[in-house]
């Protein structure tokens, strides 16, 4: 499965990874090789096999809707690069 440059750049954009031209080429080769290898899965007939999303039988694990002590705001903000008035500050997404 040979990936094209465009495909690699598209994936990088989806993942918001800024890659250099050299990285795009290296990853193009490496990812193509790995995906080629992964193609052996196509040998198996899995039409009647259900997919495994989780090995556990647990579904919809809920708790009672009761308030309990939570992480203090100061702690939650302590590692942030930029804060203002108790908010995480980010660059604008809308002008």
């Amino acid at each position: 499965m040979a990936l094209s440059r465009d495909e690699v750049e598209h994936i990088a954009d989806l993942a918001k990874l800024g890659l250099t031209a050299e990285e795009v080429e290296t990853f193009r080769e490496q990812l193509s090789a790995i995906l080629d290898y992964a193609a052996i899965l196509q040998r198996l007939d899995t039409d009647a096999i259900p997919p495994t999303a989780s090995v556990l039988p647990l579904r919809n694990v809920m708790r009672a809707d009761e308030a309990a002590p939570a992480l203090p705001q100061a702690d939650a903000l302590a590692n942030a690069p930029s804060i203002e008035d108790g908010y995480f500050q980010v660059k604008a997404i809308l002008e």
């Binding site: 993942a15 800024g18 890659l19 990853f27 290898y37 694990v61 702690d75 939650a76 942030a80």
Partner: protein, 489 residues
Amino acid sequence: MKLHELTIHEALRLLERREISAVELTRAVLHRIADVDNDIKAYLSLTPESALEEARRADELRRAGNQGALLGIPMAIKDVLCLAGVPTTCGSRILASFVPPYDATVVARLRQAGVVFLGKTNTDEFAMGSSTENSGFFTTHNPWDLTRVPGGSSGGSAAAVCADETLGALGTDTGGSVRQPAALCGVVGIRPTYGLVSRYGLVAFASSLDQAGALGKDVTDCALLLNAIAGHDARDSTSVDVPVPDCRRSLGQGVKGLRIGVPREYFGAGTQPGVEAAVRQAIQVLEGLGAVVGETSLPHTEYALPVYYLIAPAEASANLARYDGVKYGLSATQAPDIWEAYRRTRQEGFGAEVKRRIMLGTYALSAGYYDAYYRKAQKVRTLIRQDFDQAFQRFDVLLGPTSPTVAFKIGERTADPLQMYLADVFTLSQSLAGICALSLPCGLADGLPVGLQISGPAFGEETVLQVAYTYEQATDWHTRKPQIKEGHS
């Protein structure tokens, strides 16, 4: 008596008899770290002052009659597990400055049991790797041969236990990252059943596969550690509400009549002859002790690698989307807009293997490819689980090598990602199936440790530990230690 050479259970006995103090024990281990860690580089960060304070407190509590299960025992914690107030970097530059405001549940449970925390151990970045060479900071060296890798991703923890730089350690295992470094360093490592141990505070790599595990100098120590950390946690909705057995209880019961399966797929081409020989010898020892051994098959073993390297990166691509420089970590604040800020933050902060896996995962999940890759892998995952279900109808445990080779040289496999991935061929399946597995030393090949892997059915930890303990007590591999030159750097 060199205190740093003690096992956890030996140290507990001496502490209980007041023959040593927790402070003496901690000082001895810190001294050992100072002597050898410049060469081994197992630790990313050390917390000697707080460790000595915790040790003092442990001595006080013991004098006052407190019976904490691990009171005064020094431990090392892999740097993907949160230890409150201490940097948790996950081996990544993107989190170089991150200080968690809370303990991971497994860490909190150890704290409650009276553990003394020595520091955080080195790891492949975000636990992605099999050699600890992907650490964003430096690589760890195998104490048996400093030119070789300790395995990964819990290489720092395994090397620290091996070199007596700690009495025990926590690691994490997603595709083998506790078991494989345990094998390469000649220590014991256990990967619990998925859901037995809480993942709260374990920085997520692949959520359906990650599990915290224990590394120790012998099987008894691993049983003690598992006792301390296992159990339901309301903060982890994937933790299972089952009663946790006393993992020590069954240790001495022997293996008479126990059915041991040997999957044929775990031997042959690709496995180093010395590794195969040591493992087959170990199986004979168990047969001699009364176990009933039979050959079996796990027919989908060869598909575990492509399944894992689609599912794990897919989950990782989602889990690592949070590293955007907004709430914590590296942040490219000089960028002109938010999208460029994201791109640059992640470009600068992530290493090559992490980027590679994020890309692989993003691709496998993307429109047009989801069915052919991710969904297909999930279906084959079901087939792998079924292989184990069937094998466990006829056998109590399955045995084989943990790793196809002994420790390889630093730099030997870094040029080709697929070559590195092949290190995991025997450990991926158990993770995919969510069952438990343990590695313990069973010999040397070319002077380097060989690990025997014992796999058990889900929640079958007691049986796995029982088989491991029986083998261990009938041999002396667990007493073999590497010669490490002290005090030179």
